[in-house]
Symmetry: C2
Subunit: 252 residues, 2 copies
DNA sequence: CCATCTTTGTGCACGCGTTCACAAAGACAT
DNA sequence: ATGTCTTTGTGAACGCGTGCACAAAGATGG
């Protein structure tokens, strides 16, 4: 197959499980809120509730970072905020480029939640010549021609792709060639990247489809013997249609 | 704890594993692309490559749906599109309301990827009286006062929250009270919902922080004996600061 | 009709993640 | 100092998800 590397093999980084890493930002958010209310310490039970996880899980997660708690008391909020921030690499700030300044890209550019969490939008890049120079979120949009130079000049290692799906792989390739090693992809496509490059994707169509699945299941259970568990009649009739016996519905 | 139910206990729905459900939309997307190119059949190997997963995993996933393949040949593309669509509940279309028509909410409203996948934006809702009546994506924004009526009138069961974090729980409560049973939450907060209500969240700050973690790790490995694996000196010095010995960095 | 070749469907083993449950650590009161 | 009480940190068991590897199914050609 000509398809390159696609999903990293869960490179258990320095012993911290991937699942734990994914929860650290959650804890950090909850801790930051406590910090702002000047709460000095917090128990695993309280913090777990605030983060929406099991308390045993939280304690085990923290145990991977070291023993930062005090038995009988809990965790020092400020100290833990710092430890998690350091572990996540948020004590430095990360320049980020956003490629594809359309509906979504512009919304991202305007989003304040970046800067407040250690990320700095270094540049906005779009292929549309008509957009070049136009200010979005108080920052001029730059043309794709300069992509390599922008990334190099600013030492950017994280890129966000918000272009149409058709352009995503091509943009991805250029980003990687220019030195980007982490990509957040909003386009509904599977990106192929070489080893050493991390890709995370956000696809809300997928999220909605998962919700729809459960929604349908709920409806089916409620209806019980309404029409018999959704549509088993179709499922029962299992043999592939000779040519065009597939029902006319065909979404997507 | 006063905190209500927060995460569903992975209700293994009719034997289909949650992990499989989460991949079905991925397969569907790849299959739809093949369908548009009029490819009649596809092998598990090819489809897996297109979807960015392992072929064994794909076959196992499909085995939960039934035996829809033909040995020696592969899967009938059209037929599989239909089966997966049906399984995901996409043969009906789902009315969706978006609450909070700011930067992000407007981008979502303008997004074409909804309709093409069986979802229909039934209404846009915002609390700002100045926005009421204003057209966004060719549809007038409605005021929060009418939230309950809108949901009831349109039989909406899926809601998208794109309000600021502070308003999210309150909006969530109203949505649930009005009959919504599935929520896609973009606000960076943990939502408490009663049993029977599904919540999925999209938080790009979290995604970026996960990328930053791996990015830092890569940098640390490259630098090797540069300053000694990132910052172990700080970690070594483990005792909680009496008061304010936490370094000044403190992000988030 | 038989042989060959391709590709599915799945049994099985393994590793990761989750959760329970408890011993040990330490705070705090007496 | 001693006892009590709270809460951490973790060993161990369990369940889910993943991927290997292969037998069985069926297509295809002779
Ligand atoms: N808008 C949403 O809410 C939403 C939701 C989910 C996913 N998405 C996905 O995000 C992506 C962007 O969505 P959108 O609604 O902002 O689309 P859009 O059409 O509004 O914006 C796309 C932008 O990308 C630019 N672009 C095109 N090709 C480019 C290239 N090669 N290099 C650089 N820039 C290029 C275009 O000029 C345009 O400005 C799409 O893939 C879409 O499927 C969007
Ligand atoms: N913009 C982004 O790219 C982005 C990215 C990630 C997360 N988010 C999150 O998404 C949410 C929205 O972001 P945004 O940039 O669109 O913010 P925004 O301020 O542009 O929009 C918020 C909108 O919600 C409306 N609103 C406020 N309270 C409401 C209520 N009680 N009921 C109904 N509507 C209400 C406001 O009138 C406003 O129109 C925020 O929670 C933000 O953290 C945004």
């Amino acid at each position: 197959m000509a398809t390159g590397r696609t999903h990293r093999p869960a490179t258990r980084s320095r012993g911290i499980p991937e699942a734990t890493v994914a929860r650290l930002p959650l804890y950090l958010r909850a801790l930051t809120a406590l910090s702002e209310r000047s709460v000095p310490t917090v128990s695993s039970e309280e913090l777990a509730a605030a983060a929406g996880v099991n308390s045993a899980k939280l304690r085990k997660d923290f145990s991977y970072l070291g023993s930062y708690g005090t038995r009988g008391v809990g965790y020092d909020v400020e100290y833990l905020v710092y430890q998690i921030s350091r572990e996540l690499g948020l004590t430095q700030d990360w320049p980020v480029v956003i490629v594809g300044i359309g509906n979504l890209g512009a919304a991202l550019a305007n989003y304040g939640g970046f800067a407040s969490r250690g990320f700095r939008v270094a540049a906005l890049i779009d292929a549309d010549p008509a957009m070049a120079g136009k200010p979005v979120a108080g920052m001029p949009v730059q043309h794709t021609d300069d992509l390599e130079r922008i990334i190099s000049d600013n030492g950017v290692s994280i890129g966000v792709i918000a272009t149409p799906a058709g352009a995503a792989q091509q943009v991805c390739d250029r980003l990687v060639a220019a030195g980007i090693t982490s990509i957040l992809n909003f386009a509904p496509t599977v990106l192929s990247v070489p080893d050493g490059v991390d890709v995370r994707k956000v696809d809300l169509s997928i999220e909605l489809q998962i919700l729809a699945f459960h929604e349908q299941r709920k409806a089916g259970e409620d209806a019980a013997a309404d029409d018999g568990t959704a549509a088993p009649a179709v499922a029962k009739d299992h043999r592939k249609g000779p040519d065009g016996d597939v029902p006319a519905v065909m979404p997507a």
